[in-house]
């Protein structure tokens, strides 16, 4: 990354022909924009077909910056009418598309697109509404453990808390009910999930949770705001967990803690049929890896938190099992995994029917282990937290 100032940056990816502008771009004078405009001009000069100007993570901008960019882009459009310039904005940042569309009005070879579905490449697999009951069951199963774990990582009543990648908001609701934070913000990039979360919170009379639609990799939340930041099962499905952790660190107060949970899918286990179960979950890890997700991340939590600058790191693991509550709940979750992993992801990867049949068998054996009167089925999770240094 070509860092041009502490608050904003510009970079050119010549493989994708993409100029990426990021951060808070509020310069006092055009001189402060020279690095950006030079990079944009050079990048455009070297490109002849379509060039993308990605402003999805440009969260703030003043008109000094906008005019500088507008002048460069208008000049480039006039010099090379055969080249298309596509400005890619985010639906999270409501001013971005209307403002950049004012440029498109005067330039036939410049267009604006609103884009948000690629923040988390794998997330589309679990955004289907039919997956919601399973997500709720998963949270119910993990909460039995996390309710005891969270205080050991510093959560207590009266803190300011953010739940990033909150999904359908069930974890935030539990936090509200059991830890009564002074303020609770819950962020996700799925509008459907947030609508559901707001509805559920209203049903429980929990009106003080602030739900916000946002990109966890470039949040609109200010620096140093929260005592306790949670991000559960999400770093592992983001292709750049370091970027997410940087943002979690940024919004956390000095002395506050960031709490993450991640899995190690290949360690899912069951008896009987331990071998077929083990094989299938090893394949799950490979399948996610194919889609740039790392569901083996759990034990890497200490390293990730350390590399992101946290200290006083704590790591522990727990095993969700069929003996926690109703075994049928666990079986339902495994069946949902089978539907998504074997029914959708493996198909999209192009796996042959024989593979998918064997792949499904491990899930079915896991269900059998969960429901068998003498069986045992487990799903291991790593909970870790780090303190942002003072």
């Amino acid at each position: 990354m070509n860092r041009l100032s502490p608050s904003f940056s510009a970079d050119f990816d010549d493989v994708n022909q993409e100029i990426v502008l990021t951060g808070r771009m509020r310069p006092r004078s055009p001189d402060e924009m020279r690095g950006v405009t030079d990079l944009v001009r050079r990048s455009l000069d070297g490109s002849s077909a379509t060039v993308y100007v990605n402003v999805k993570r440009l969260t703030h901008m003043n008109m000094t910056a906008f005019r500088c960019l507008a002048n460069v882009l208008a000049g480039a459009c006039a010099e090379n009418p055969g080249r298309m310039i596509v400005i890619v904005t985010s639906s999270v940042i409501t001013w971005s598309a209307p403002l950049f569309k004012t440029l498109a009005a005067d330039q036939p070879n410049l267009s604006v697109e609103i884009y948000d579905s690629a923040f988390y490449p794998g997330q589309t697999f679990v955004e289907d509404e039919s997956f919601i009951p399973i997500l709720r069951t998963q949270t119910k199963m993990t909460w039995r453990h996390e309710r005891e774990i969270l205080p050991r990582h510093g959560l207590r009543e009266g803190l300011t808390v953010a739940d990033i990648c909150c999904g359908i908001g069930d974890f935030a609701t539990l936090i509200k009910r059991h830890f009564n934070p002074a303020r609770l913000v819950a962020l996700d990039h799925s509008r459907k999930s947030l609508e559901y979360a707001r509805r559920v919170a209203a049903d429980f009379g929990l009106n003080s949770i602030e739900y916000t639609y946002g990109d966890a990799s470039q949040m609109l939340l200010a620096d140093n705001q929260f005592d306790f930041v949670t991000c559960r099962h999400s770093l592992q499905i983001f292709n750049r967990p370091d970027i997410l952790l940087r943002e979690l660190y940024r919004i956390c107060k000095p002395g506050g803690r960031v709490y993450i949970t991640n899995e190690k899918n290949s360690h899912c286990l069951g008896e009987p049929h331990s071998e077929t179960i083990r094989w299938t979950y090893e394949q799950v890890a490979r399948l996610f890896s194919h889609f740039d997700m790392d569901v083996e991340m759990g034990p890497k939590s200490r390293r990730l938190l350390n590399d992101a600058g946290f200290d006083a790191i704590q790591v522990e693991s727990f095993m969700v099992t069929n003996l926690d509550g109703d075994p049928r709940d666990f079986a339902d979750v495994i069946e949902a995994w089978e539907n998504v992993y074997a029914g959708q992801m493996a198909v999209r990867r192009g796996d042959p029917p024989d593979f998918i049949r064997r792949f499904r068998q491990g899930f079915r054996d896991h269900v059998l282990a969960a429901l068998h009167p003498k069986g045992y089925a487990g799903w291991p999770i790593w909970a870790a937290s780090g303190r942002k240094p003072y």
Binding site: R26, M63, L221
Partner: protein, 156 residues
């Protein structure tokens, strides 16, 4: 942008901030800091406060930057947030120099300002993002820039 012939609507005080103009113009970063502070208050009744604060801070910051670039470095900057049933109004008042009196006092009520009027960019921004903007002059040396925001979703 229009000169204020503001309709009669009951507004209540939300926030008032008075700054010494010399202090204000000594540090450009204050524009961003003040804009973020005010935008968080503007957005507090919205379903998604973080996003509306981000949106409103765009316009508020531009108004404050315009005050920063246009004000005389003496006297005071008055910043007020007012609230009605449907709107949150941000007002920023500052003194302009005698050289600028024609610029502000003869401001065209009907048309958007043209370059190089100091409010050209602000007016273009407000139009692009659909925020109502007004200008009100008092005497021959003081101007108030006014922007109206929705008090919550669906109140336009």
């Amino acid at each position: 942008m229009q000169h204020a012939s503001l309709e009669q609507e009951a507004f209540q005080d939300m926030t008032a901030l008075t700054l010494d103009a010399g202090l204000f113009t000594s540090e450009f970063r204050l524009c961003d800091t003040i804009a973020e502070y005010l935008a968080n208050i503007v957005a507090q009744s919205h379903e998604d406060p973080a996003r509306y604060a981000n949106f409103s801070s765009l316009v508020i910051n531009e108004i404050i930057e315009l005050a920063f670039r246009s004000t005389e470095p003496v006297g005071r900057i008055d910043i007020d947030l007012l609230k009605s049933e449907t709107r949150v109004r941000a007002c920023v008042a500052f003194a302009f120099g005698k050289d600028s009196s024609t610029t502000w006092a003869t401001f065209d009520r009907a048309a958007a300002p043209s370059r190089p009027h100091p409010a050209y960019d602000l007016a273009a921004l407000a139009q692009a993002v659909d925020v109502n903007l007004f200008v009100e002059t008092r005497g021959d040396d003081r101007v108030t820039l006014i922007a109206d925001f929705l008090v919550r979703e669906g109140t336009r």
